[in-house]
């Protein structure tokens, strides 16, 4: 890979393997790289172990979303979803198990897929992208079960609320919609930018980051990152972070969030920012925690750089994996 390409590379998505030993990362050139965590974290790690063990071109467009099921890696790019078997990938055999495309209304331009979320309750995949709709696909037979329509602009992010079997979607139109998967109806629609405590009109009204913990929801983007209580549909805390946040997650008793700044922010649910840990990329797109393995429990962040920072202890950056 030439130095110019490396300079312009952005990592958009990450996913850990089900065994927890490998990390897959997707970039803006449509490539997916597989890194071996056991080699990089082992006692005899060197420069070479921080390079990918396998790099392949998965799609023609950027890979905006990666998701791992128990046996497959799902990647979304250029309007289609491909599945790769993890066992095959570890053996360096690059062949997609299947490739599907949701039913788009217009065939002129292919809308990109920005987010995917897995609903383990009924083994379905929710896919959201540029055509303003959320498509629900059944993983058993690959058919697209339903389409959730309601957003007026493209969808940035999706999240699944397991206990209530609901899908949350956040989009460019500033609305967070909660859909019931059984009836495919929109149960709630929250327009975050209309709440004075959260709104930041100088940034816009789009919602780029959404995650849920069954009772609580974090959403942010143009408006400030805020914590919402879903039963009462009211914002409880607003986090004083200056940039626009792109991904947030609940981890134990903290909230980890990344976005426009060059750092990972640790926040408490009360609304205070406990720490900001600096990292390599100047603007971070994705954050992932390896919950599939106990000995390789690391946090990885990727963004507008060809380096993926690995944190073995949440407080500092240990080393970087390079494309």
């Amino acid at each position: 890979i030439g130095p110019c390409r490396l300079l312009h590379m952005s990592v958009f998505s990450q996913s850990f393997s089900p065994c927890g030993k490998f990390l897959a990362a997707g970039n803006n050139y449509g490539e997916i790289a597989l890194f071996s965590l056991s080699a990089a974290l082992g006692p005899d790690a060197n420069e070479l172990s921080q390079k990918p063990i396998l790099t392949f071109t998965a799609h023609e467009g950027p890979v905006f979303s990666l998701l791992s099921t128990d046996s497959h890696l799902l990647s979304a790019g250029n309007g289609e979803i491909s599945a790769w078997s993890w066992a095959e990938l570890i053996k360096k055999n690059v062949k997609a198990a299947w490739t599907r495309r949701p039913n788009y209304k217009s065939s002129l331009e292919i809308p990109e897929i920005n987010a995917m979320a897995l609903n383990p309750a009924d083994n379905s995949l929710a896919v959201g992208g540029g055509d303003n709709n959320v498509h629900i696909m059944d993983l058993e037979n690959g058919a697209f079960k339903s389409v959730l329509q309601g957003h007026t602009d493209y969808i940035h992010c999706l999240s699944v609320r397991e206990r209530a079997s609901e899908v949350l979607s956040g989009g460019e139109d500033g609305a967070v919609r909660i859909w019931d998967t059984r009836t495919s109806q929109c149960v709630h629609c929250v327009e975050v930018y209309k709440y004075e405590t959260c709104a930041r009109p100088q940034h816009g009204k789009w919602i780029s980051c959404l995650t849920t913990d069954s009772d609580w929801m974090l959403c942010g983007g143009g408006p400030s990152l805020s914590l919402w209580h879903l039963r009462s549909m009211s914002p409880t805390s607003v986090f004083p972070l200056s940039g626009c946040q792109r991904q947030a997650t609940f981890y134990q008793d903290m909230i980890l969030t990344v976005g426009e700044g060059q750092c990972v922010s640790h926040c408490l649910m009360g609304g205070e920012v406990k720490a900001q840990i600096p990292c390599t990329p100047h603007s971070i797109n994705t954050l992932a925690i390896n919950t599939n393995s106990t000995e390789h429990r690391v946090l990885t962040v990727g963004g507008s750089s060809d380096h993926i920072d690995v944190f073995t202890n949440l407080s500092y950056k240990a080393f970087s994996l390079r494309f």
């Binding site: 409880t236 134990q252 008793d253």
Partner: protein
């Protein structure tokens, strides 16, 4: 491979021999020397003194050998005891390690629990913050009660006013219908009837109460009132606005409403007092 095996065993042999002979050069040699001297002494045809000295020398050597043997035995005992000691220390340390491991896992569980508790507490705080923003329930209930009472009072007042209005409407209706009937009867009977004009805002108490002011009009005066030409007549001009006229004085004959005139008929003059009494009671 063959050569390798040879080298290994050679090393082993050398090592073994060094080990055996390691205790201060000569133990092995001493035993060999003793044996040789013993055989030489047994086979030597030497004199008894020399034989005796040789014998003594051999005893000495034997004693040395025994001594060194004792020494090695003691060292051996010591080693065994040291080994036991080390075994004990080793097992002690093993126990400590396992207990430390257990403590660590306990502490890890504790920390997980504490983190969960902290998370719950923070969630609680966040919700409490939102709830605090809403007003207190007791306050709201009290306000609601006060408002209810006010509402009740106002509706009572409204009912009263409505009832009064109804009553007045009925009274007024009665009055008008009486006048109409009277007019009709008079019309049918008498053409030179002076009309009664009633207009405007009547203050019933003032105009029709007993003892309304009266005025002695001039004969022949004409009063235009509501397009009804009224001829002056003999009789009384009752002025409803008592304050217009002076007390007891001659009130102004005003052509502006409101005023009520009595009815002059050929049979007599009927004033409003009479009419009022007639109809209402």
């Amino acid at each position: 491979m063959r050569v390798d095996m040879g080298a290994v065993t050679d090393d082993e042999v050398i090592r073994k021999r060094l080990l055996i002979d390691g205790d201060g050069a000569g133990d092995d040699r001493r035993i060999n020397v003793l044996l040789k001297s013993f055989t030489k002494w047994c086979n030597s045809p030497a004199t008894p003194e020399e034989g005796f000295t040789q014998h003594q020398r051999m005893h000495g050597t034997l004693a040395q050998c025994e001594f060194s043997m004792l020494k090695t035995l003691m060292v051996y005992d010591m080693n065994i005891r040291e080994m036991e000691n080390y075994e004990k220390i080793y097992s002690n340390i093993e126990e400590n390690i396992t207990s430390a491991h257990e403590k660590i896992s306990e502490c890890k569980k504790e920390i997980q629990r504490a983190k969960r508790i902290r998370k719950n507490r923070q969630e609680y705080d966040a919700l409490a913050k939102v709830i605090q923003q809403h007003p207190d329930r007791h306050e709201t209930l009290k306000q609601l009660e006060a408002l209810d009472k006010e509402l009740q009072q106002l509706s009572d007042i409204k009912e009263n006013v409505d009832a009064k209005l109804e009553l007045r409407k009925k009274q007024f209706h009665v009055l008008l219908s009486t006048i109409q009937e009277l007019q009709q009867t008079l019309d049918s009977r008498d053409e030179q009837l002076h009309l009664v004009g009633v207009c405007g805002h009547l203050d019933v108490r003032q105009s029709l109460g007993p003892g309304g002011r009266t005025h002695q009009p001039q004969e022949g005066e004409h009063y235009r009132h509501n397009e009804v030409l009224v001829r002056g007549f003999k009789g009384h001009l009752v002025q409803p606005d008592t304050h217009r006229g002076g007390p007891g004085g001659r009130g102004q004959a005003v052509s502006t409403p409101p005023y009520v005139i009595g009815i002059q008929t050929q049979s007599g003059y009927l004033d409003m007092d009479y009419l009022y009494r007639l109809k209402v009671q």
